[in-house]
């Protein structure tokens, strides 16, 4: 049986790395006394499958994790009722479990299934030209950026990854954007988008609001709606 868990990463814990998060979840699952399946071999590890990594320093309202449960352990679905609360209690402040669902059919992994993410991006910089520059980016047929990948510089067009983008707030020297950025075939990171906007703007705060999977052209969140347990 596989569980899919949705959780937040807000506040001070935004500075934790993806690796840190994996260790925190291993301990939290043990503390919540969930019968997690372990890998075979000399060094058994709990079978956890994380979704798309979140950059260190970014926050999120919608992170996902798949947990394989030990098939030999008896566990009734109705026994999962208070699981969100039990997991949240075992997690540090800022990481809160907001929903758990049972996946009847494991299906594709989170990294394969998710096609886009919605981001709230807070920038520091001039407010007067922000709308204009955002419009210009959306109008551009291609936006080439170069990336250094282990010493090899590659050129990439990030324009196809910008699925939507608009300015939501302008105040003082703060510009707030909301953007849907694609994750297939290549994940477009908010920091790359900020870099493409140009030098007067710098990143203040970034929060992932949603992750989306596509079902027959319709967008839905990755939690299977079949047996949602403890969803708010």
């Amino acid at each position: 049986m596989r569980l899919r868990v949705r959780f937040t990463k807000l506040g001070k814990v935004r500075f934790l790395s993806h690796r840190d998060l994996a260790r925190i979840w291993e301990r939290a699952l043990r503390r919540a006394e969930l019968p997690v399946a372990y890998s075979q071999g000399f060094s058994p590890r709990p079978k956890l499958h994380f979704g798309l990594a979140l950059s260190t320093g970014h926050e999120s309202l919608g992170e996902y994790l798949d947990v394989d449960l030990d098939p030999t352990a008896a566990l009734a679905v109705e026994g999962l009722g208070d699981l969100t609360a039990r997991l949240s209690a075992a997690l540090p402040d800022g990481i809160e479990c907001t929903a758990v669902a049972v996946l009847d059919h494991p299906g594709p992994s989170l990294q394969e299934a998710v096609t886009r993410c919605t981001w709230a991006i807070e920038l520091e910089g001039p407010t007067d030209r922000a709308e204009e520059v955002v419009a210009a980016l959306l109008a551009a047929p291609s936006i080439m950026v170069s990336r250094d990948r282990k010493g090899r510089v590659t050129e990439d067009d990030i324009r196809p990854g910008i699925l939507s983008m608009n300015v939501t707030e302008l105040s003082g020297t703060v510009v707030c954007l909301r953007a849907d950025l694609g994750t297939q075939p290549r994940t477009l990171r908010p920091s790359e988008l900020v870099a493409a906007l140009g030098s007067p703007w710098s990143e203040r705060r970034v929060c992932r609001l949603h992750q989306w999977v596509e079902d027959d052209g319709a967008l839905r969140e990755p939690l299977a709606p079949v047996v949602a347990v403890g969803a708010p």
Partner: protein
Amino acid sequence: MLSLWPRLEPLLSRVSKPARYIGCEDGAQRPAHRPGDVSWLLVYPDTYEIGLPNQGLQILYEILNERDDAVAERSYAPWTDLEAELRAAGLPLFSVDNHLPAGDFDVIAFNLSAELTYTNVLNCIDLAGVPVRAADRTDWHPLVAIGGHCTYNPEPLADFVDLVVLGDGEEVVGEITAAIAAARSQGRAAVLRRLAGVTGVYVPGLYESCTGEDGRFAGLRPVDAGIPSQIEKRTVASLADWPYPKQQLVPLTEVVHDRLNVEVFRGCTRGCRFCQAGMITRPVRERPAEQVRTMVTEGLRRTGYDEVALTSLSTADYSGIDEVVADIIGCGDNISVSLPSLRVDAFTVGIAAQIQKARRTGLTFAPEAGTWRMRQVINKLISEDDLYAAVESAFSQGWRRVKLYFLIGLPTETDEDTLGIVELARRCVEIGRNYQRSPSVTVSVGGFVPKPFTPFQWFGQNTVAELQRKVALLRTAAASARGVQLRWHDPRATLVEGILSRGDRRLGPVIESVWRNGGTFQEWSEHFRLDLWLDAMADAGVSVDEIVHRHREEHEALPWDHLSAGLHKDFLWQDWRDALAEVGLPDCRWTPCYDCGACTGYGIEHIVASAVPPAGGSQGTAVPVLLRTAVGV
């Protein structure tokens, strides 16, 4: 006090591993600072990854926060990138709990576990916005305190600290808190004078250093008759009364020793003559087995860890260790137990086999010296047979790699002793071949640094050139020994440890100069700068040879003579003479007392559950041939 968090947050996006600075660990406290409280900032003067697991700091953090007259928060040395950001932004060192400015605390207390962190102590004081020299501080500044093993010779840091605490901290932190609360309305000088009256507390500013006609250190004396001439260490009589940490901190990011730690006993009477920890923490005080079991099961449940370390200076010596280990393994699947500091014998391997059922990759032993003669000198009485039996037992039960720790530069060491290290390793590989296709033995070699309050405190440390020559001998020998890998500690770092280990107050300007020239994080090889130390020594007119390489004389004044770990100086001197005569000394847990002074001086005793030595035989438990004291054989 106002939280610095809003001003720190933007900086953290720009530094490496920012999770080190956020706090938020399970077990972390965010105490409310009440008026009248004595506030402590407990600082480990190295990175968070190294400092967080420190059990001493965690124990005091809990004990202080349980008091109704104290609060405690924690801090660690910020890495160089954050330090630069803090200085550029005009922000001070901060606590990781409430992110409060370090300079706003009443006491900034450092845990001193390694000499090479001394320049970080100065850097942290400076980053706190506090004058680095104690003499320049006013009533408005915090008191700077140090505790931990290095404080048995605090003299190199005497210019920079207000108080030094000797020995176990559990009880004395409360007494210090009370003394500060009672006297602080009368000003800093009154507080310090009052603290000088607390047993275990040394206030360096109330003592003057005397210099002999030869320019050398000639002793310390109190500035007036109201100040004690001798400062005794503190010892808690029973660990059963102190089941701490109760809420061990569970870090959110990667640290060393990331596991549950349960201290099973404190103190060690094996009597290894190079080992300062074994001398200054006597007597042996075992934690009751029942309490160990409770601390392990409750700790695992609370933290979610899948690994527990049973810590002490030699865990296989704990009475009934095999039953305790069996109980822990029985309490859950996928729980692993680690036993740091294993004794070298087959019994120990048996316990290890019980623990590591699945993953038998490496096992570590510390024979410390390559020949039986040398091991008699250092009183690490492991016979060749013990070692080979242990190694055979390990390889035959599936371990593929054995790691052996050794010291070079020990008193009376000859090239034959040095080369004995490789010979021993070579023989271990041969034994392994009977069981494995390609057994591997890793030899790890460190240069010996003589420490205060050990029988070797009079010994002149080997020079860098001599240690390098010995390393070269070992490298040549190891090159032709198949299956033997050699690793060694940088002899240049060993030299600086030697300077700080037994130096006196003349080192104050040296440490300050190295720090002012950017010599922080000296424990990190990429930051280590021998040139800064040598230049500073030359500028201060202090001879490296005099401090490090010279053999001390029996009656000369030692910079730590005014401090006491209970050990009689004549006991240590006799043990030094015995070492030179290659005579061993048995473990007094199971043999008659030889009156080292550690128990008798304080009216305390060993607390050992078993009156008989553990099975297995090595290291003085099976009485070796050459022993000075009659032990009824």
